[in-house]
Symmetry: C2
Subunit: 467 residues, 2 copies
C-alpha cells in the first residue's frame, strides 16, 4: 500500500470499511464545504450560516458553560493562581475551595500527571457519593472508570464482550449510531430490536424476547442489551415499570445490561423522572451477583453540555474479579482519561449545594438552560405537528426531535433516481435550501423499521436551533 499511493482499499481492515457513522457522515462533510463557500463567496447560497443540528453540541450553538465548573477547571489548570491575592476577586470562594480540595486529592497536586488507570481516586469517591445521593443505594469508587466521554467506555465494553462475529449485542432501532459503529469495528453481530413509534417509541419486552429468540436460533451468542434512557434520538423517558421488566429480562436471560444514561439530567416531561438502572435493579433486590450492569455517563450532555472536555465515566457492577481485571487492563493500555475531563465528571456529580457562595448563580444558570431546552422541545414538537404530512412524538427528554415525514410520491421517485434513501434525499435538499444540517432517520437504522413504509422518513434535530 505504502509505495502504491493509488492502490485501492483492499488492504485495509474490512471492519473499518464496513463501519458507518451517520452523525458525522457525508452530509456533514458537505455542510463544511458549504460553510467554506459562504465565507469565500458571501451570498452564494439562500442562507448565511450553517446550523449544525446533526449532533448534540450545545456550546457550538451558543449555550454558555456553567461558570462554577469553568472556574474550578481554570484553577486546577493553573494552581499558581491559588497563591495570588487577586484570585479572590476573580473567582467565587467555593470554586477556590473546591479546586484546593481536588488538588489535595491528586498525588503531588499534579494535574499534569497520568492518574490511576481508572481515574483519580478522590474524584471517583465524589462520583460514587453523587451516585449514592441520586439512587439511595451504595456505590463503590472502585466500580468507577473515568473515561474521555462516554464513547471510549462503550468501545471498551464492546471490545471486552465481542470475541467474534458469533457474539451479538441487542441494540435499539432507532439508535445512537455509536453502538452499531462500535459493534461493527469489533467484529460482532448487531441484533436490532425495534422501538414502537406508534406508542411514542416504547420499548416492548415481547420485542426483546422475539429478537433474542431469533438470534439464538441462528446460533448467535447474545452477550448484552443496550438501552438508551432517556432515548437518543427518540426522546423517550422509560417508565419505572418498564425498566423493571428490562432488568428482569437481562437477569433471566444472562445478558449484560449496557445502560446509556448520558441524558439523565435532560428530562422535560413533568410526569416523567429519570431512574438509573442501578437504582431499579437494587430496589428489586438484585445485587452484584444477580445482574451485570454498566452505566455510561458523560459531561457532554445534561445542562452542562461540555462536549469538548471529553469527560465521562462508567459504573461497572456485577462482574467477577477476573473479568474486572480484564477491563482494568484495557483501561491501563490507554493510560488514563484526561484530567480536566476527570475533574469535570466529578463536578457534575457534586455541583454546588445550598449555602455555597455559587449556589444561587449556579442554579439560575442551570434552570435557565433546562427550561430553555424544555421550551424549545415543545416549540419543535408543535411546529412539526402543525405541518402537513409531519408527525412528531413528544420529546420527554434528551436533546433531539425525531419527526416522521410523509414524502410525496414525486419526492420518493426523485430520491430513487438519485439512488439515495428518501430521507437522506430530503436531508440533503433541506441543507441546500436552508443551511440546516440534520441526520436522516436511516442513519439511526430507522430504514430497517419493521413497519418500514418507503414514504416515511425521520430526522434528528437538536433543540438548540431555536433562539
Amino acid at each position: 500500500m505504502a509505495s502504491d499511493y493509488s492502490s485501492t482499499l483492499d488492504d485495509l481492515n474490512p471492519k473499518v470499511l464496513k463501519c458507518a457513522y451517520a452523525i458525522r457522515g457525508e452530509i456533514v462533510t458537505h455542510a463544511q464545504i458549504l460553510q467554506q463557500d459562504l465565507t469565500e463567496n458571501p451570498g452564494s447560497h439562500p442562507f448565511n450560516e450553517i446550523l449544525y443540528c446533526n449532533i448534540g453540541n450545545p456550546h457550538s450553538l451558543g449555550q454558555k458553560p456553567i461558570t462554577f465548573f469553568r472556574e474550578v477547571l481554570a484553577l486546577c489548570d493553573h494552581p499558581l493562581l491559588l497563591d495570588r491575592s487577586e484570585t479572590k476577586a476573580l473567582f467565587s470562594a467555593d470554586s477556590i475551595e473546591r479546586a484546593i480540595q481536588i488538588l489535595d486529592q491528586i498525588p503531588c497536586r499534579a494535574t499534569g500527571a497520568y492518574s490511576h488507570s481508572q481515574g483519580i481516586k478522590g474524584l471517583r469517591d465524589k462520583i460514587a457519593s453523587g451516585i449514592e445521593a441520586r439512587d439511595g443505594f451504595p456505590a463503590d469508587p472502585n466500580d468507577i472508570f473515568l473515561t474521555d466521554g462516554a464513547s471510549p467506555a462503550v468501545h471498551m465494553m464492546m471490545q471486552l464482550l465481542i470475541g467474534s462475529e458469533n457474539d451479538g449485542i441487542l441494540c435499539p432501532i432507532p439508535q445512537y449510531p455509536l453502538y452499531s459503529a462500535s459493534i461493527t469495528l469489533h467484529g460482532g453481530t448487531h441484533i436490532s430490536y425495534y422501538l414502537d413509534e406508534e406508542t411514542g417509541w416504547a420499548l416492548e419486552i415481547s420485542e426483546l424476547e422475539n429478537q433474542l429468540k431469533t438470534a439464538r436460533s441462528r446460533g448467535v451468542n447474545v452477550k448484552a442489551l443496550v438501552v438508551i434512557n432517556p432515548g437518543n434520538p427518540t426522546g423517550r423517558v422509560l417508565a419505572e415499570a418498564n425498566q423493571r421488566e428490562i432488568v428482569e429480562f437481562c437477569r433471566k436471560e444472562g445478558l449484560v445490561l449496557l445502560a446509556d444514561e448520558v441524558y439523565q439530567e435532560n428530562v422535560y416531561a413533568p410526569d416523567k423522572q429519570f431512574y438509573s438502572f442501578k437504582k431499579i435493579s437494587r430496589s428489586m433486590g438484585f445485587g452484584e451477583k444477580d445482574i451485570s450492569l454498566v452505566s455510561f455517563h458523560s459531561a457532554s450532555k445534561g445542562y452542562y453540555g461540555e462536549c469538548g472536555k471529553r469527560g465521562g465515566y462508567m459504573e461497572f457492577t456485577g462482574f467477577s474479579p477476573e473479568i474486572r481485571e480484564q477491563i482494568y487492563k484495557l483501561a491501563s493500555v490507554n493510560l488514563c482519561s484526561n484530567i480536566s475531563g476527570q475533574i469535570l465528571a466529578s463536578l457534575i456529580m457534586s455541583p454546588p449545594k445550598v449555602g455555597d457562595e455559587s449556589y444561587e448563580s449556579f442554579s439560575a444558570e442551570k434552570d435557565a438552560i433546562l427550561s430553555s431546552l424544555a421550551r424549545r422541545a415543545k416549540i419543535l414538537e408543535d411546529a412539526f405537528n402543525s405541518l402537513e404530512g409531519v408527525t412528531c412524538y413528544k420529546a420527554e427528554g434528551a436533546l433531539y426531535s425525531f419527526p416522521r415525514i410523509n414524502l410525496p410520491d414525486k419526492a420518493i421517485k426523485a430520491a430513487e433516481e438519485a439512488k439515495t434513501a428518501p430521507d437522506a434525499f430530503y436531508a440533503w435538499r433541506l441543507l441546500n435550501a436552508t443551511g440546516i444540517v440534520v441526520v436522516s432517520g436511516s442513519g439511526f437504522g430507522q430504514v430497517h423499521n419493521i413497519t418500514a413504509r418507503r414514504e416515511d422518513t425521520s430526522y434528528c434535530i437538536s433543540f438548540y436551533t431555536i433562539p
Copy 2:
C-alpha cells in the same frame, strides 16, 4: 455471564485476555497496595514512599508544568477572565494574547463544543507551521489528526491496518509495550526485530530484512514498520544515515512507516540531533506518492511532560484520498479529542518566541528541565556502570535507562523456584526492599532477545528519581 457472577473468562474476547501491558501490570498493582499499607501502617516497610519509575510521568515525580502553557489553558477554560482587569496582574501579556488568538479560531469561541473530527482547524494550522519550521519542508493542516495523547493514534493506525492475524507489524524489541498490546487487541501478528544491545541498541537494516523475509515466507502480510526515535526504552537517538536507510527500506518494501517521535525534544547527547522521518524522507526527494508515513507526537513527554492533559497528534502523509477517508471516519466515531489537549498540542509546536513577554521565563523553565534530565541520565548511567555485574548504555534521549544486570546463579534459581522470569523476580525484590517500581526487561519483550542469556536482565528506570 451476567447472571453467573462466578463464571470464568471463557466468554470474553480472547484478544483482550491475550493482551499484556507491563508498564501498568501486576508490579504496579502491588506497589499501590504497598503504598496504601504505608499510609495505614507507617514504618511497616523498609522505605517511606513508593517511587514510580515504571512509566515516564514527570509531574508525578515533582516536575513543574511550564507556566506559559498553563496560563493559556486556564484562560481558554474560563474565557470570562479575559473581560476582567484583574487578569492582567495574574497572567503574562502574551498568554492573554495567545488565548484570545486561540478562542478566535474556535467557532463561537466554544472550548466546550465538539470540534472537527481531526481537531480545531486553527490549531492544526499552528501545528503544521511548527512542523514546517522544524523540518524545513511543507506540512498540511489537513494531514494533522489531533488525538488524546499518542496512544489513541497508535490504536487507530493498528485498527486501520490490521484486518486479520495474517496481517503483521514489524516492531522493535525492546519496545514500548503499547505496540504489542495494540497489535494483540486488533488481532494482528507482531513481527519482532531486535535492536542490538552490543552496539548501543542500534537498528540494523539487515535485521529488518531478515525478519521481513522470514515473516513473508510464513505467509504474513507485513503492513508496517514501527520505529521509536528517540528510543523507548533504549534511549538511542538514530543517526541520520540510519534513518535514510530505514526510509529507503520502507519505500522499497511498500511498508507504512509508523514513526513514534514523542521524545523529539528529549535529546541529551551533544553529538546527536533529532530529525523527523518526514524531514529525512522529503530530503531524500520522496513525496506523498513514494512513502506512507505517520508521525506520532504527544504533549506527555518533551520538557513539558503534560501526561494528564492527553494531548497529541499524528501527521498522516502519503495515503490515497480513499484511505484518508477511512481514517477520518475512525476519528469521527470518537467525535474529537479533548480541546484542552488540542490547545496544548498546538502550544508545544508554537511556544513563546524571542520578544514575547514570557520568552525568557519560558526558556529558563525549559532549559532547567532539559539540563536536569540530561544530568540525571548521566548520573544513572555512571551509577549503573560502577556497579558489579551491571552495564548500561548511554541514554542519548527519551526518559529511561535500560541497564543489563547479570544475576548470580542463586538468584536465577530462586526465580525459577518462584516460577518468575529472573528480571521480574529482581524487580519485585527491588520494590519490596526499596519502594522503587521498575518494569522488568521481559515486559519490553527483551526476554526474546536473540542473544538471550538467562542470567541477563534489564529494567527501565525513569530519570526523575534523582533529585
